[in-house]
């Protein structure tokens, strides 16, 4: 067992443990914080495997941006400190969640383990460098990459359209809202209904 093996086992154990804690904790903000630890140590796992760029981008995107947004959204709902009866789940939901999670894990494991069981990588002389990652993304896989970009753009425009359309329909109810269809706020909406 080399040093790299030991470090990888440790990082993997932290990842798995924090993932488990993230779904079992009774406090909603703690779940997000454990998710943070999980995604951060996953970046560590990439680093141990010699994929520096992937690990750093994981840190930049998931830890630095996505979990921050999750925490931000949680704080908007005034997530309480300590366990709370209102946001607890009944036992059958927990059971269903555990079953679904186990099934997904089994499915992924049965698919991926045979696929990569024989794969080896020489970690002392890493072959995948940043230019190679870039060439793979913008060369070989450029069409899936572009399709994903379009999907994200559609989602963005869709979210924007949904929020605008809902505002517009509400505003059309009242005379006040109809006069300023572009600038209807929640205040103007209640005026129109009153």
């Amino acid at each position: 067992m080399t040093t790299r093996d030991i470090v990888f086992t440790a990082v993997g154990a932290v990842t798995a443990l924090s993932a488990l804690l993230s779904v079992t904790t009774k406090q909603v903000v703690h779940a997000a914080l454990w998710l943070l630890v999980c995604l951060g140590s996953l970046a560590g796992a990439y680093l141990v495997l010699g994929q520096e760029l992937v690990g750093l981008v994981q840190l930049l995107v998931y830890v630095g941006a996505i979990v921050v947004l999750v925490l931000f959204a949680l704080m908007l709902t005034r997530a309480p400190i300590g366990p709370h009866a209102e946001i607890d789940t009944p036992w059958w939901q927990r059971l269903a969640g555990a079953l679904l999670g186990a099934a997904t894990t089994a499915l992924l494991a049965s698919l991926l383990l045979p696929l990569f069981s024989g794969a080896t990588a020489d970690l002392d002389t890493p072959t995948t460098t940043t230019p190679q990652v870039a060439q793979a993304v913008f060369g070989t896989w450029v069409w899936p990459f572009e399709l994903l970009s379009v999907l994200l753009l559609v989602a963005l425009i869709g979210a924007f359209a949904v929020s605008r359309l809902v505002l517009h329909r509400d505003g059309a109810d009242g005379a006040d809202g109809a006069r300023h269809p572009g600038t209807v706020s929640s205040g103007a909406r209640s005026d129109g209904r009153g």
Binding site: L33, V57, L60, A65, R78
Partner: protein, 322 residues
């Protein structure tokens, strides 16, 4: 230092980075005291230590250590106590990979630019944890303002840095500074302006100190903190100024390029970084605090398009003058 044992070299480098991390923020803090005072027509600290109050921040540190470490009764104990360290450690990691010269660098990492950006993005989580765990409405408001601000300003900052990396054709800070030439001062000017403004916002320094706004929400996410933990948040802010100033010097001002750079390279980087830090202090004295909507408007209406324009400009430059 190649003739030393590997473990000894690692320990020496870590100690050197830690020393820089503890000394440079104090220097910036003292400079802020004095420069601000003189810009406002007063003297600033004059007594502590004798000569122009040089020991003022040391005295402040001693005062912070003596204060009681209070955790509010309704706070989330562990998250509250961990938050200052989560805010502080990312800047320590960032400082370790910023080169002062090709040989004076804590740890030479291949993709150091991405590493610096990634860990700076992690720092905000300390503020969020502090704000939520304090069980105080002002803290929560401050944390939410901080999150909204930092998520908005991270995008223009990453785009501006991406433009420099594109111009140099590498993700290593050492290679970027080596690829620099004086024309970049003009070519990368829009990106440099975007970076400086976004860095100020990331540090939550005036005029971007909405998350702390003392006249509205006491002291934002740090309201409930006392003693050493509060001092750690302050240290994180000043360490942030050091990191951002040195980063600006390395990315946009050529780092160690200057006369006798074989021997004095590290001195030029430090001096350029110090100059940027003085500009950061100057901006604090000159501008009033921005309102939340003005702040978001500045990020999305001005900085993001400017950064995208800079990216296009860089791409054209790289293709036309290879």
């Amino acid at each position: 230092m190649s003739d030393l044992a590997p473990w000894l070299e690692v320990v020496l480098r870590a100690v050197a980075v830690l020393a820089a991390f503890l000394v440079l923020p104090l220097l910036v803090g003292q400079t802020e005291h004095k420069v601000m005072a003189h810009m406002q027509g007063r003297l600033g600290p004059m007594y502590a230590g004798g000569f122009h109050g040089w020991a003022q921040l040391v005295a402040d540190g001693v005062k912070f250590v003596q204060k009681e470490d209070i955790t509010p009764a309704r706070a989330d104990r562990w998250v509250f106590r961990l938050a200052p360290f989560v805010a502080l450690i990312p800047y320590l990691v960032a400082l370790a990979v910023i080169p002062l010269s090709p040989r004076v660098v804590g740890a030479d990492v291949a993709a150091s630019v991405v590493l610096v950006l990634a860990v700076i993005g992690v720092g905000v989580i300390g503020t969020l944890m502090a704000g939520w765990a304090s069980a105080n409405k002002y803290s929560l408001l401050g944390a939410m303002r901080a999150a909204a601000q930092l998520v908005s300003y991270e995008l223009p900052m990453v785009l501006a840095v991406a433009s420099v990396a594109l111009a140099a054709g590498t993700l290593s800070l050492v290679s970027i500074a080596e690829a620099w030439n004086p024309w970049w001062l003009l070519w990368q000017l829009p990106g440099a302006v975007v970076f400086l403004v976004a860095a100020l916002a990331e540090l939550q320094r005036p005029p971007f100190d909405m998350p702390l706004a003392d006249s509205e929400i006491v002291f934002g996410a740090f309201t409930e903190y006392t003693g050493l933990r509060f001092a750690f948040f302050l240290l994180a802010e000043y360490a942030g100024i050091v990191v951002m100033s040195l980063l600006f010097a390395v990315l946009y001002l050529g780092g160690w390029s200057g006369p006798l750079e074989q021997w004095l390279g590290w001195l030029w980087t430090v001096l350029k970084g110090f100059l940027v830090a003085v500009v950061v202090i100057w901006l604090r004295v000159s501008w009033p605090r921005m309102r939340e909507d003005q702040l978001q408007r500045l990020a999305w209406v001005w900085l993001v398009p400017m950064a995208l324009f800079q990216l296009a400009l860089t791409a054209v430059g790289v293709v036309v003058f290879p």
